[in-house]
């Protein structure tokens, strides 16, 4: 493990903005897609779960 503190981890050696934007966008897109399919599933009236 190369991180001395939590702040160091979030700073990502000065590239924090780029690294966290990338992972954040990926999480938002994938999470958003799951949510969208979930709602579409409910709207389609499937009786059982996903």
């Amino acid at each position: 493990m190369q991180w001395g503190s939590l702040a160091e981890f979030f700073a990502m050696g000065g590239y924090g903005l780029y690294v966290w934007s990338s992972f954040g966008a990926t999480a938002l897109c994938m999470g958003g897609e799951v949510l969208a399919v979930w709602r579409r599933h409910a709207a389609a009236g499937n009786r059982d779960g996903l």
Partner: protein, 253 residues
């Protein structure tokens, strides 16, 4: 009849496939969550800082899997489209329809995370390089296929038209893949290939491949969930006179 005693053709009907897909989703979803968690752990806590790129290189743990999925999903979508056209099979068209949005999303993510990596490393958010340009074209192809489908009311014509567009466009996938070899691109060559040793440290490759596997499982789970929506939406055509649910239709047949 196959040797295993399972009649696989049974599952080529949407009514039989719908519950089967429902049973498979939790397994793929659980695998996706587990693999992505392990991939993130290895990527952030075990893989060392890169000597030349610093910690900006960690972006590849989402960038490379997203870019690979964007191409894999396109090929799989085109294969389903081709089977649909060849056998006139409705479930194949439904699979192609269900894959397109996920493929488009991963293409967008590949471009977005690539630009997040390009700014600190190359000094530019975007360059009109062969790899980047052909990947942008792939995004337009996905969007075109989705829009073409939604612009045609007749489902059979929508299926066939979008399948033809998907099949013709598959030519772009090898262009994207080989662009870094065919042209002198700013984008680097493949980091991992079957024929040569990886050009990265072992733990870095491990993190990337585990994330890759996680994205595969995610794609399968979300595509199966979407194809179930598509099946129900389509089977509820006004031709049946009432809002028929899948079990109702299955009984009626």
């Amino acid at each position: 009849m196959s040797a295993t005693g399972i009649n696989w053709f049974k599952y080529s009907s949407p009514q039989a496939f719908h519950p089967l897909a429902g049973r498979m989703i939790p397994w793929f979803a659980a695998a996706a969550v587990g693999l992505i968690a392990v991939g993130l752990y290895v990527g952030f806590f075990i893989a060392p800082t890169d000597v030349t790129q610093g910690d900006a290189y960690r972006i590849i743990f989402v960038h490379v899997p997203a870019a690979w999925m964007s191409m894999f999903l396109y090929v799989i979508m085109a294969i389903w489209a081709g089977i649909g056209l060849g056998l006139n099979a409705r479930p194949s068209f439904m699979m192609a329809q269900a894959i397109a949005p996920t493929g488009a999303m991963f293409t967008f993510l590949a471009l977005f995370t690539g630009s997040m990596w390009g700014k600190p490393t190359w000094g530019a958010w975007w360059v009109w390089d062969a790899r980047l340009t052909s990947e942008l074209i792939l995004l337009f192809q996905y969007i075109g296929i989705i829009l073409l489908r939604s612009s045609i009311d007749d489902l059979r014509r929508a299926d066939r038209a979008s399948a033809v567009l998907a099949l013709v466009g598959v030519i772009n996938v090898p262009i994207i893949y080989f662009s870094v070899r065919w042209w002198n691109t700013l984008h680097q060559g493949a980091s991992v290939s079957i024929t040569a040793a990886p050009t990265m440290a072992g733990t870095m490759v491990t993190a990337m491949l585990v994330m890759m596997a996680g994205f595969w499982m995610y794609s399968i789970a979300v595509t199966l969930a979407r194809v179930r929506c598509v099946i129900v939406e389509r089977e509820r055509q006004p031709a049946w006179g009432k809002q028929a649910s899948i079990p109702d239709v299955a009984e009626a047949r």
